[in-house]
Symmetry: C2
Subunit: 238 residues, 2 copies
DNA sequence: ACAGATTGACGCCGATGAGGCGAAAAGCGC
DNA sequence: GCGCTTTTCGCCTCATCGGCGTCAATCTGT
């Protein structure tokens, strides 16, 4: 199966008693820009799937924790550091990579709307671009499946966890926050009810600043640094 | 780091251009027996941690899907097949195994209370035993942390998903089901409210049989095979 | 056989919370 | 000042949840 499982030249210096799969990390980076939920993709340069778009990712270093590898790959592609990062799922179907057995640990990341992302549409060697979630190109490997699952999980997480703030700048208005929710969940919410509920959750705090623009200026809020990330779970079932 | 990264004898026939971590699966098998939530552990025979208790697990075959590997390990230790199995998390701290880099994909399994589990307390080579969740022995590797997380996830899943049935025989009474919930969640529930809510969820169906015992015989129920596993989520947040 | 104990099953009631909606407040551009 | 937009406050209603009383069916001990 593996092309190199029997070769023994000096380009294959790492030998083991039993065969080992390769381990990679892939990052699904979400952001909300231009009023749409977008995902970061990179264009592959080498076979397999040369020219196709794929999730940013790469091999895990031998001394590198998994999450550190994901953070590194994300930083290499976008320059973004300190973004929200969470392990999503590990994919290991034997045939998911034509080069051999590759097991990938998928992470999803939330990039604030105001984070400067470099190489945006750049003509570097490895081109990276944001794609709206509903206008994705053909994807390499099983990355389409991975993104579909990441989107399900993002929506789910948004509904029972205070994680939407990770997609906004540090300060934001209630309307901006609501728009993020509406974009991701794909439904419109009532302004007054949204406001009431999010204030009762006691996870954001008002600031003394306002955002001026059209209409009445809106108060700016900030995510409470000490707020528990998990909204205390009401029992859903039974 | 790896002892064998430079050795080149005939016991190390699998060679690669870059070093690769080993990949294993570990299974956290839960069951409810003797009125307690229990976890399956095996006693290690070899170093490291020889003699210590650990989660059942082992290496992933090169052509084997991850979940298949978990199911195989579980079947080898217990003989149980077809149990509920779900990927939990992937642990990959560089120092979690003193032998070198070992990345493990953890699965948690729910074993029905009536499933015959072989090697229970047997004196086989690899001894396997159930341990009550609140009376665990010292554990090898990072397995204590893994079990703690699995327990959190089990409780969480029980509250928003219809998964408790996986711990019961195919037919059960409402009181038996309630008992499972009480044991896992660690709190007592009101009989009448539990009954009302679980019937409204419309995921179990009454049978024409009754379980006789102390007091009035209780109607037996069965998990609806076509019921959606995920209880349709009410929004929790905001 | 009968009384009391034990467990299962049905239904009401008040409190709580969520969604729907009206209306006032505060700036902006003309 | 006057319309327009957007924010913000507050009320009303309905569904749901938890708490509890009560009856029904069977077992057990005498």
């Amino acid at each position: 199966m593996l092309l190199n499982s029997d070769t023994r030249d000096k380009t294959m210096p790492y030998c083991y008693e039993y065969p080992r799969p390769a381990v990679t990390v892939d990052v699904i980076a979400f952001t909300v820009r231009e009023g749409r939920l977008q995902v970061l993709l990179v264009q592959r340069e080498r076979p397999p799937f040369a020219g196709a778009w794929a999730l940013p990712g790469g091999f895990v270093g031998m001394e590198e924790p998994l999450e550190a590898a994901a953070a590194r790959e994300l930083a290499e592609e976008t320059g973004v550091e300190g973004a929200y990062l969470e392990q999503l799922y590990t994919y290991g179907a034997p045939d998911r990579d034509p080069r051999g057995r590759v097991i990938t640990v998928a992470y999803f990341a939330l990039i604030p709307a105001d984070a400067p992302v470099r190489a945006e549409g750049g003509d570097d060697a490895a081109q990276a671009r944001w794609f709206p979630i509903n206008a994705l190109p053909d994807l390499a490997f099983d990355h389409a499946e991975i993104i579909a699952y990441a989107l399900r999980r993002l929506r789910y997480k948004l509904e029972y966890t205070a994680v939407g703030f990770q997609l906004l700048p540090e300060t934001f208005t209630l309307s901006e926050l609501q728009r993020v929710y509406e974009i991701i969940l794909g439904e419109s919410l009532d302004k007054r009810n949204f406001r009431r509920r999010i204030l009762k959750a006691d996870i954001i705090e008002p600031l003394d600043a306002f955002r001026t623009g059209e209409g009445r200026p809106a108060r700016l809020y900030r995510y409470k640094p000490d707020a528990v990330a998990e909204v205390k779970a009401r029992r859903l079932f039974p």
